[in-house]
Symmetry: C2
Subunit: 150 residues, 2 copies
């Protein structure tokens, strides 16, 4: 019984890990056109929604620590997608702001989410199933984050 749980086939964790990588791959061709990676796309989505945010705020939304974000943001600055500058109010804080180039990519990105959903719909996946999955996952995020206090 405990034995069965050690079968790859019976684990939930492994499918999550696999689907996560497969989705990144599904995004790849679209992101390639924009010359960005999936984590960079996530940063852009945050900033498209609300610009001029401190690293801190991006960190919380994406649940990525600054030791991951700092180099990522630096790369994006080198690509001229955004600019980083110390806040005058609080010299510890770094404010991230999109450049025109970074803002412009939003138009290219608009069709992307729909195209992934189309792949699923084409295979007779119900939209309700997508919503349901999203709800379950968000519930899990809450629980697993709690168990992992930052």
């Amino acid at each position: 019984m405990e034995e069965d749980q050690l079968l790859l086939e019976n684990q939930v964790c492994f499918p999550i890990y696999s689907v996560s990588r497969l989705i990144t791959k599904a995004y790849q061709p679209h992101l390639d056109k924009m010359g960005i990676t999936y984590p960079q796309y996530l940063v852009l989505m945050v900033l498209w929604e609300k610009d001029k945010l401190p690293v801190n705020s991006i960190s919380k939304q994406l649940m990525l620590k600054t030791n991951t974000l700092s180099p990522l943001l630096k790369r994006m600055e080198k690509m001229e997608l955004l600019e980083r500058r110390r806040s005058p109010q609080d010299e510890r804080s770094v404010i991230v702001e999109l450049t025109k180039k970074g803002l412009k990519l939003k138009n290219m990105a608009k069709p992307i989410p729909g195209e992934l959903v189309n792949i699923l719909l084409k295979e007779n996946i119900q939209l309700s199933e997508v919503i349901q999955l999203k709800n379950i996952l968000n519930e899990w995020i809450e629980i697993l984050s709690k168990n992992n206090k930052d």
Copy 2:
């Protein structure tokens, strides 16, 4: 409408990506006791189920290419968890076999899956929900792999 889809909050992909990382973190303390990482744990699970497999077979089961697996397996060989040796039948093929140390870890690993499930049950997540999630994800794996022919 297309605009809304670009909100982080409305994406399914982001929660999958987050939960995947959170689960790895939840496993971490247990894996630390064994001195291994999550991908290494996955390799062990494959070999605990059936030992003496070519890299190829592990690659397919974990959906990881050999350029990821080769260094991973080499690290595990250095840790004396497994041994790699060319197949006499087909000199191209490398057979991976667990050492005693690698086999022994199975006992330590047995309680792990149950403990993660316990975290969820403690928060009133139904076991049926876990099964349901697993089924949806396996369906998606099938679809997304098809769209991404190796």
